[in-house]
Amino acid sequence: MSFNRSFLLVARREITQRVRERSFLVSGAVTLLIVVAVAILPALLGGDGPETYKVGVAGPEQRAVAAAADAAGGDLDARIEPRRVRDRAQAERLVRDGDLDAALLEGRVVISDEQLPDTLDSALQVGQRQVSTGATLRRQGLSESATRQVLDPPPLRTETLSGEEDEDQKRFIALATGVLLYMQLLTYGLWVATGVVEEKSSRVVEILLSTLSPRALMAGKIVGLGLLGMGQLLLVVAVGVGLALATGSLDANVDDVGPALLVLLWFPLGYALYASMYAAAAALVSRQEDLQSATTPLTIVIVASFFVSFSALEDPGGTLAQVASLVPFSAPLVMPGRMALGDAAPVEVAVAVLLIVATTILLVRVGARVYAGAILRTGKPVKLLEALRTSE
């Protein structure tokens, strides 16, 4: 059977079998829930979304104040919805019953049940100031357009010395990419490993290898699970970014959203590297019980890289972060964070990608040889060098 056909059959089986397993569906749902929570939490907690207040207005002057307050309230995240009230008695009743948050009355009075929220208070004060200033200026004979200019001067432009405008948002995205890549690399790497051992411990591998080559089997398994991982990531990123934009947790700004898409570049790079090593390590053992000791070194490298990626968030320009973002084993977890923070020079990114691709090509070859040399050896765990020698 040709390599391509058998490779495709193996990859298809990996995907169709995995998506039917309850463990896959549950873990996928949990990941998605976490992402949904992370995406909408800032909006829920944050006061990032505007609050709408119902404010009673007793007459045209108060209605004008409310409108001006609403316009001014945009910066304060306070929207104001005016409601007509007949007189003070009705206004008091509605405010007390909670139907209104506040009411503007004749004689420059605002009533509320308890103390006014700060943002509403500020908005109403600004509105009041604008309306009365506007009235005064008009009485002095200033034209309508000049009056508006005076009332609404261009705001101050803010500039930071480091050139960064929204460090918090970048840091949040950098952290989220790191966590997502870490979970995904670890999960799918282990799935490759348990899949290899499942074939070995159930001995089905002997039938498989009578019609296809060890390399087709290994490649099909890695690529099949990788496509599944990529699909899951696409879904997670689409849902996460979509929700974050919809709820206002993220600003719809290419500079800020772009880094969230970095996971889609770095997952395949990191996965190809780690999955080939996980497959080779798993081929050395015959039982699920022995799998953990065979894969622990790899897992340690991933976990350590994850911790380095944390410290890189604090000091993205530091030596540790710079080195770790170039070393192929830690680059998939450290480089996306530095890129998201805007700290990685394009040449650094290019070098990191080149290094990881070159290392992966080498490791895929070595891994395939180990795999081919060990896959049919059952019983005691096979030594790495022995497996390499067998397949020569």
Binding site: M1, R13, Q17, S202, I207, S210, T211, S213
Partner: protein, 296 residues
Amino acid sequence: MLAIEGLTRRFGDVVALDDLGFEVPRGQLHGFVGPNGAGKTTTMRIVLGVLGPDSGSVTWDGRPVTPGSRTGFGYMPEERGLYPKMRVGDQLAYMAELHGLERGPAREAAYDWIERLGLSDRADTRVEELSLGNQQRVQLGAALVHGPDLLVLDEPFSGLDPGGVDVLAEVLAERARDGAAVVFSSHQLELVERLCDAVSIINDGRLVASGEVAQLRARRGGTRLEVEVEGAPDSWWEAVPGVGDWTTDGDTVVLTLEPGADDQQVLAAAAAAGRVRRFGYTRPALAEIFREAVAA
């Protein structure tokens, strides 16, 4: 025809196969017997390409076996193996596809075999949830689902109940009738004798006998005489020239004749000793041929 020639394979210092060769024509049911560790499984693994030989060749219909021709082979390894979490139908369809069938025909073939093996109500069950007997049936299905021209089965009868043995024997005979070459190993020599057209016996990696069971028998069958003489002394044969070992059971004695011995002299001696009730050559069982071949 499957032709194995000069197969040699070492594992470290151990010689597992030493210049082994035999042939299995299409339409033949071929028994492959030998003591544990004789090299049966190694031979089968080499035929299926799971293992490489150090030297020697395997050809199918006169051409060296390639991964392409192997898709037409069916294999049941000694260590049974299926995906434990895969459903029976999916599993067999996947095996059929791995052996070159397209997706649609693969599913059809899978469900045909599921029905033939009496597993229709188990098609959507995961293999790990089946009884051992049913798992064995699925295993057989995995070897047969793509309609192979060559079947190589390592101990297919072990672990089967008598009903299962009959089903399997019938399926194998049918495949051979349809023109497939079928070779299987077994320790159940009566079964091999009953089913097989030919056998190969190996010991310590070397072929010690191969051919049709009748030929093997004829090759050494003439050397044993079974004689029953009523009321004769236990030693009437001792003076006859050319008589070697003997065993007695009541009035019956089985004599081993050395080459060149004259059976008519034995008959005369027997008649002189008493009433001859029975006189004839024994038909040695395969088990006996096997024992001698392996001991030689």
